[in-house]
Symmetry: C2
Subunit: 233 residues, 2 copies
DNA sequence: GCATTTATTCATCGGTTGATGATTAATCGC
DNA sequence: GCGATTAATCATCAACCGATGAATAAATGC
């Protein structure tokens, strides 16, 4: 019997002390939001859930990000900058090294490497983020717009390099080939566990090393088959 | 001034007359739900929106489908049966015709044809349904399970045919290759308008004829490159 | 050292959500 | 021809939703 309420420890109010262990609430909110949005999409998440997970009041989410949509956009943009920079650098550096011996597989590998490496490293926060990209990429209503705004510059850089490796390709074939690449990559990053079931456990969604070995050859094979074939009305 | 309410015509109550023009409410609900779910996903839709669109009371959705989730599953299953049957027949018939001259591109083409043909035909209801598949396929939480339950039998049939066309391929390579195929197909069917923007209008998400020409060669090129290469740790 | 700004929780609002029991009317089984 | 079943709307519920203004406390600027 004793005390009937374990004193729930009412959270402190007002601005926190400067050297208080572990705040940086803004990042904590973004992490929690990333986790939830990646699993259930924009509409499947309530700001209350996010706030509870980040151990802050819901009003703080509005303080930092104004609206729920603002929070979502902030989550999406945060890591995009990082991988965009890495991918540009990776393609630049491959093009410099390869010189005139540039190949489609080499370019695609340079493009995929930064993402797949991060995925293979196993940081769950990045996993969540990649799953989020996958959802956005397949969201009809506003996915195309969001993806374009965020990633198009890098994709144009990729296509420029591919044009060098496949000089006879038509523009249409290049863009469609990239589209197939994008779809394959997105699904691989979304980790739905589908291939696990399908292959009866032989392959695992989480095995990014296997993906890393196979994806560039597969996609390059596709590019070359499609872009080197001539005449298709 | 006159009458202050234009008589809103209260809907009739009770069971409708047998030969009443245009009922079949159940189908109407499924159509409306398909439309909404495909655009905004499970959580982005309220049963009220669906009911309003189908011009029925919300209680009727619960009468037929019990819960919101039940409605979603019914939508997802309805057209799956149709295309699954068509795909099986298409692969069967190709295998019979090709005999020992079976090729990866032929098999993949037989697998893709039924879907892409329907997509090219332009029925918006099928377009919506394909977009719905795309979303489910990239939903981490329950997408893998739902996709597996719905489509795995056909996919196993596909893989069996591919095994014949690529006798030296390892099981892992076959499954991963299918995974890439699945991703590419899904994104193509989801019509986000991304490629339109990316290509500055040169390519169009809705141009399923272009996809139909390009996808089988691209994917077959990938399969052959990956599955015919030897030794990869 | 005081006024302003920043970062946080509290309390609460109006609107929406999925669901359900009651009611009504037509059909079906016998 | 009548009781049971089916197909529909109506009315309403408790829970939850995103958002906001007020309160509070530390930090910062001058």
């Amino acid at each position: 019997m004793t005390v009937k309420r374990p004193a729930k420890r009412r959270a402190r109010r007002g601005r926190p002390l400067k050297n208080d262990a572990a705040p940086d609430m803004r990042e904590r909110i973004l992490d929690a939001a990333e986790d939830h949005f990646s699993r259930h999409g924009f509409w499947g998440v309530t700001i209350r859930e996010v706030a509870q997970d980040a151990k802050v009041d819901t009003a703080l989410l509005h303080y930092y990000f104004d609206t729920k949509r603002g929070l979502f956009d902030a989550v999406f943009a945060r890591r995009a900058e990082i991988i965009n920079r890495e991918r540009i650098e990776s393609i630049d550096s491959y093009e410099r090294e390869a010189g005139s011996a540039i190949t489609a597989e080499g370019v695609i590998n340079a493009f995929l490497q930064p993402i797949l490496e991060r995925a293979a490293q196993g940081d769950p926060r990045w996993h969540n983020y990649f799953a989020l990209i996958a959802q956005v990429n397949n969201t009809p209503a506003w996915g195309g717009e969001t993806m374009a705004r965020t990633f198009d510059p890098v994709i144009h850089r990729l296509i420029r390099a591919l044009r060098k490796a496949l000089p006879d390709a038509t523009e249409e074939d290049l863009y469609w080939s990239y589209h197939f690449l994008s779809g394959a990559l997105t699904l691989s990053l979304s980790q739905t566990g589908r291939i696990d079931r399908l292959s009866n456990g032989l392959c695992k969604s989480s095995d990014f090393e296997s993906i890393g070995h196979r994806m560039a050859p597969f996609i390059a094979g596709g590019f070359e088959r499609l872009c080197n074939s001539v005449s298709r009305a």
